[in-house]
Homo-oligomer: 368 residues x 2
């Protein structure tokens, strides 16, 4: 990769939208206010004041919350707890590549259901169940999905919950992007709509504080949380108390709204730049502009080969992730553009390079 | 447990021997010196400057090092990598209870070999091999062993290495206490004596910086480290960059020697107090005073029931961990005393209470 390559590949924030000064100040206060809590082992459940803060945010009790070393670690514990080899598990099609990997490693019977611009095809989940499949779990990223950027509508949230209740399916509501909505109205979490212990909810501070702090969490039924706690104890005794103490100080001091506003404003500008650049330079691209999050899903005309596009793009100093990475099959004409780590100026130049790469392909519909 | 219970149970430092001011200053510098490195995802290999620092300490290359969220997490990855169900694994008898649990969970064929005051019975390992067992791994805590406080002699280090080389056995040198020797002369690590990729070494900053920072590491053959890195990526993307950045600043600024000296001095005083109190109040106790670390192993006369002792101790406001927790069988007359979290004054009072509990037991040899 050339030094000046513009990367639409990685779902991570650029440094300019991380509140480093706020973090530094939070670290100072954390060591001053609770030296014993930060420096001691603590327990696998997480740093108690942060656990309480999260419980308050979700209007649940602390026994419904465990704070982990990033939410992917939480996913891993939850899969170990709930998914046995051969268990049917519903995922969105496309979905986060590491989720697919984690489920594959555990021998799950992965059942991808089409993701539509208003979220997973709930009727499709219903048909699967009618066909006699009994999914143990349905993994759903409801807001600004990774990789598609799509959001699950309110009606579909209700519909999925009804299916889950009726058929004893757990919904794994994987919601790291919820706080970084930059347009449209927020929707209630399925966790908040659930009254039957049907939902296990995961989120993280990677998108609101920063990824390097590695603090994520699960909210769910007390028995599930207790099971995850046991696994966490046996794996690492306790998660990072220093990091969780810093997040707690950052959050409880009121720094969060300002930090989130900075992120939202930047992402809104970046999506605007991305949309404008695609419309200008790559009119063959089909996409739905996301209302939040880091990602935009782009479909190119049938017959475009994303492998060839990625190679041609690399030669021109721009990169992205192929849609096929997020699918068990198909999607050879799709790609994911992450706009979280690039400025509007870089986006403008990057899409211009991408269009050049696209137009260079022999066999593109335009050339055909 | 009563509010004023004196606990010899947990292997953790008391707050007075943690350099909280040093940590606070290191956190400030870390955010100032490398905001991008601390706040970004990084990779599963760990924070690169800390990885380099550790490599320098052990005179190896960075590709031989991975930095993890505490060393227990490193153990878990390593067991997943090297131990298949049914594989014979040598452990010390007694050994760390979480090591036994981790190996049991993976279906290892656990082969406990007697731990002597100068370390594991290497001839016993040899006999096991002569009997046709081919251990995949030998887990050894060479310095100030948990729970026994014993240290592996130089001769036995050489002997174990020779066996490992000859029979293709990996030595897992689990060495979290090495830096906190407070008497006697340091011995070379088996890692440093090894020239055949026979040793995987683990250590941690829990005992030199603080446990809540949750930073541990592995040193070993590059292929083993690469395999562990892959597992780490799939489990949590990357470990805690903020915490590792703080440890790096703490270590590289020269704060470590002073911090360690504080810990060593305190532990030396605590062992002296413990030894004196046991000799005074509990002359039936047999023990070897450790030269470092957190733990002392105590043997009481045959026939003493440590379950009854623990109950009687609890009633008198003192607690400890039963020796049976560290063994697959036997050891009903043994216990582990952790002196890392108690002051000399508490030790004095705690052993006086323990002796009272001991003397209260019907069926103690004295009463029989």
């Amino acid at each position: 990769m050339a030094a000046d390559t513009i990367s639409f590949a990685r779902g991570a924030p650029s440094l300019d939208i991380v509140d480093v000064e706020g973090l530094k100040a939070a670290a100072k206060r954390a060591f001053e206010n609770d030296p014993a809590g930060l420096t001691g082992y603590g327990t696998a459940i997480g740093y108690p004041p942060l656990r309480q803060w999260i419980a308050d945010q979700h209007q649940v009790e602390p026994q419904n919350v465990i704070v982990t070393n990033g939410s992917m670690q939480a996913d891993a514990f939850l899969f170990d707890q709930l998914v046995a080899p051969g268990d049917p598990v519903v995922v969105e099609r496309p979905t986060y590549d590491r989720t697919l990997l984690g489920l594959r490693q555990r021998g799950a019977d992965i059942r991808p259901i089409e993701l539509e611009p208003d979220g997973i095809d709930v009727e499709g989940v219903g048909r699967l169940i009618s066909d006699g499949i009994r999914p143990k779990l349905a993994h759903v990223i409801p807001n600004f999905q990774n990789p598609a950027g799509y959001t699950l509508s309110r009606d579909k949230r209700d519909g999925l919950l009804a299916l889950a209740r009726e058929h004893g399916m757990t919904i794994f509501e994987d919601d790291p992007y919820v706080a970084i909505r930059f347009s449209g109205d927020p929707l209630p979490t399925m966790l908040s709509l659930d009254s039957d212990d049907t939902v296990v909810y995961a989120s993280s501070f990677s998108k609101t504080v920063c990824p390097g702090i590695r603090v994520g969490y699960l909210v769910g039924p007390a028995d599930v949380i207790a099971g995850v706690q046991k696994r966490a104890t046996n794996t690492y005794i306790s998660p990072n108390m220093v990091a969780q103490g810093i997040v707690y100080e950052f959050a409880s001091s009121g720094g969060m709204p300002t930090a989130i506003e900075t992120v939202r404003n930047a992402l809104r500008d970046r999506v605007a730049a991305l949309t404008a650049a695609l419309e200008r330079d790559l009119p063959d691209a089909h996409f739905v502009a996301p209302e939040g999050g880091y990602f935009m899903w782009v479909e190119l005309p049938e017959g475009v080969d994303v492998d060839a596009l990625l190679a041609a793009a690399g030669e021109r100093g721009v990169t992205f992730v192929k849609g096929t990475d997020f699918l068990l099959d198909g999607g050879r004409n799709t790609l994911r553009l992450a706009y979280s780590g690039v400025t509007p100026k870089q986006i403008d130049e990057g899409i211009s390079r991408l269009a050049e790469a696209y137009n260079s392909l022999s066999g593109t519909p335009a050339a055909a």
